[in-house]
């Protein structure tokens, strides 16, 4: 880094809480870290020398860590000058394979949803933080946490599905047919060809995951969880267009 005067440094530098979404190796010993922040949205920053043994920042700037970072604005990428660990979620996640893979799918989705959309940054940050913290606590089925996160992240991005009222005419539910392109359940009259007919408890689970009704979600049978996961994945794919690579590696109970 070129030396900068203290006043210039202050003007170009800022401090923010952040979740580390992912890291890429860069050159000899650096990394690019992709961060999600509440006020600045998605930030891509260079962390210099973090792959070397002597680096103190390396352990802090790992995926799924909640950190406070000091950043200096650069032309294409920011530069991390300091980082403090606030919650080492990543550590707990690396010790549990199903949770680790679920966290990847969450981070990849968050990265995609905040790539261009700066508007919903704060909401996306809160949502991901809550989901990653819950994953790390380890008291809920990681598959349910993932599916709930995905539905709510899509809703926050402006693609809220409905699993209660008919998405076409608004007729109050419960309805049994699901149409992914239309965005959720459709009533008997509105039901277009090509709609799915999942089990009623699957539709109930999807509604619970979207609204955060955890007592209902936790009581759901394994078959409904599997079927709901398929519908959530279909819905995600429909809106994100490009495939979420992590999803096929997620280990489900």
């Amino acid at each position: 880094m070129e030396p900068v005067s203290p006043s210039l440094f202050a003007a170009k530098s800022y401090r923010t809480p952040a979740l580390v979404l992912r890291t890429h190796k860069l050159g000899e010993a650096d990394r690019i870290v992709v961060l999600l922040t509440p006020e600045h949205g998605q930030v891509r920053a260079v962390a210099k020398g973090v792959r070397r043994t002597s680096s103190k920042l390396g352990a802090t700037l790992e995926p799924f860590m909640f950190v406070d970072v000091q950043l200096v604005r650069g032309r294409t990428l920011e530069v991390v000058t300091q980082a403090q660990l606030r919650a080492p979620y990543g550590q707990a996640l690396a010790a549990d394979y199903a949770r680790y893979t679920s966290a990847h799918a969450m981070a990849e989705t968050a990265e995609r949803l905040t790539e261009t959309d700066g508007e919903s940054g704060a909401a996306q940050f809160r949502l991901l933080h809550g989901a990653v913290a819950a994953l790390a606590r380890g008291d809920t089925d990681p598959g349910l946490l993932l599916d709930s996160y995905l539905l709510r992240a899509l809703a926050t991005a402006g693609w809220a599905p409905s699993f209660t009222d008919c998405v076409r005419c608004g007729a109050p539910g419960p309805h049994t047919a699901v149409n992914i392109p239309l965005g959720g359940v459709v009533c008997h009259d509105c039901r277009p060809a090509g709609s799915q007919s999942p089990a009623p408890e699957t539709v109930g689970l999807l509604a619970a995951l979207l609204s955060g009704d955890w007592s209902r979600a936790n009581g759901s049978p394994p078959g409904a969880r599997r079927e709901a996961a398929g519908i959530v994945a279909g819905y995600l794919q429909w809106h994100l267009e490009r495939v979420v690579k992590s999803l096929k590696h997620v280990e489900r109970a």
């Binding site: 792959r51 802090t60 995926p63 690396a94 990847h104 990265e111 690579k245």
Partner: protein, 199 residues
């Protein structure tokens, strides 16, 4: 944009890891201005590595023959297998001189966001090697960072059913770093103080 050959070189260089568009341009112009003999040696070295060097059919370390020098060496202890991410890590462990067993190179670490799951690594081949009952211990020496830890978690769980002793390099290695940057003394100590995950 530059004319044909120059732009092609810039584009190719730009696809290398860690080389951005600016560096690609800088390297391309360095090559243009450099001594032709030096650049011929560079291109010969690239060609030779692509033609001659392959991966060992047993451990996936780089090798100029079907199997690598370590797998061919009868003096190496065949009861201990050290699992690493990359061939570079084999060199790092060899430098410590504290390991006399054999290796298994996974080809990376489990990193779903980058599209890498267990099937993209040489994990099935590792399992196949374990049907050889001379192997008594597996030392997991994946990088001391998050992806390396998660890969160790996955391997330990998978190997639990097989009934082989599984160990992980001792803490003391810098967390977040790459194994290849650990100095010989620290890495050697991590080997001696390895802790048991199973068995």
């Amino acid at each position: 944009m530059y004319e044909g050959a120059v732009q092609e070189l810039i584009d190719e260089l730009g696809r290398l890891p860690g080389v951005g568009p600016k560096s690609a341009q800088r390297i391309a112009f360095h090559i243009l201005e450099a001594d032709p003999e030096d650049m011929k040696r560079l291109s010969d070295a690239i060609r030779a590595v692509k033609e001659r060097v392959k991966f060992c059919s047993i451990c996936f370390n780089v090798s100029e023959q079907e199997t690598c020098a370590i797998c061919r060496d009868p003096r190496r202890d065949e009861t201990v297998l050290c699992v690493v991410e990359e061939s570079k890590d084999v060199m790092a462990v060899e430098r410590t001189r504290s390991f006399r067993g054999r290796y298994h190179v996974l080809g990376g670490s489990i990193n779903p966001i980058a599209g890498i799951g267990p099937d993209q690594l040489h994990i099935r081949e590792l399992l196949n090697r374990l049907s050889d009952d001379r192997i008594e211990e597996i030392i997991i020496a994946t990088d001391p960072n998050l992806e390396g830890e998660a890969t160790a978690t996955y391997l330990a769980r998978m190997l639990k059913t097989i009934g082989i002793k599984v160990t992980r390099l001792a803490s003391g290695l810098p967390v977040g770093g790459d194994l290849e940057y650990a100095d010989e003394v620290t890495l050697g100590r991590a080997f001696e103080g390895r802790r048991s995950l199973i068995g």
